[in-house]
Point group: C2
């Protein structure tokens, strides 16, 4: 495994030499995943992972709904009025948007593709936790399916669980495991 | 279009009534996309969108490299030492991880699936900008391909550009467009 110093990172082919001032205040705001059944997904993301449902918008005529979730310790920071919440949300990093096309929840079997078999593309989202062993023990107790347990494979410091659509959620811990 | 008050959001089916204290300090850390050619992707994400390459890890024997990018106004906050940078990165929201399987850059044509045609799943990532009209004019000047211009379709306040692999990047602005 080879890592790079900060000075070396600036020399990696393709990396721009200076940040364009026109990109100031740009924010990597959200990632959107389609979900079959919002009830199952909301249960998973709120109960299992601690997200807060911050906004829901229904487009009845077009037949879809959007759910915006945030994983913040001060959910009280969310403004009350919908328009103020929309603006607040648009300024955050790390928002998860779930799209529900009405009716998919009644279909048999999986509806969406997790991106990790052909055709591949999207790989996973990742949640960082303070204590990965405690988090994984809790996921086991909650009967959450694992794609990779801490003990599987050669990378013993990361795990992957699966959301109700089968999307992979990597679990990491900032501090090294002792 | 129907929106919900904060009180109504708590009643949406599936939403957990109380956040489990065991999820305290969980962070929605990153989203991973596979890319064909890191040189093209790094150029797009650093030069066009203002991301900083914060970490690169090469797994030579396994034949892949990981690139971690952040979109922060104070790139100087990044720790110098790689291990300290790894820990810092793992505590951030809104990290973009790009996976390069060595050799794909030499393949003809597109290598990865953007998730928006069958089989669908992942939809897009989103970057929020202070001035969407100025941002879109700059993308045009930089010859960035658009999936949807501000003027296309019925939603005149959002745009979608495409990264070098064809992944959709939604562009939004927090404040309402006048």
């Amino acid at each position: 495994m080879t890592v790079r110093t900060r000075a070396e990172l600036a020399e990696v082919p393709g990396v721009a030499s200076d940040r364009d001032a026109a990109t100031r205040d740009f924010v990597f705001n959200h990632t959107m995943l389609r979900v079959k059944d919002p009830r199952a997904s909301l249960d998973f993301y709120t109960r299992v992972l601690g997200f807060t449902l911050a906004r829901k918008v229904d487009f009845e005529q077009a037949g879809f709904s959007l759910y915006f979730l945030v994983l913040v310790d001060a959910a009280a920071a969310l403004p009350d009025a919908d328009e103020a919440r929309r603006e607040w949300l648009a300024q955050q990093r790390g928002v998860l948007e779930l799209t529900h096309n009405h009716g998919t929840e009644a279909q048999e079997g999986p509806v969406y593709h997790d991106g990790n078999s052909e055709p591949r593309g999207f790989g996973h989202i990742c949640v960082s936790v303070p204590d990965i062993r405690a988090a994984c023990a809790r996921f086991e107790a909650l009967a959450v399916p694992f794609q990779k347990r801490l003990s599987d494979g050669s990378m013993k410091s990361i795990a992957f669980i699966k959301d109700p659509d089968g999307y992979w959620v990597e679990i990491i811990q900032p501090a090294p495991l002792d």
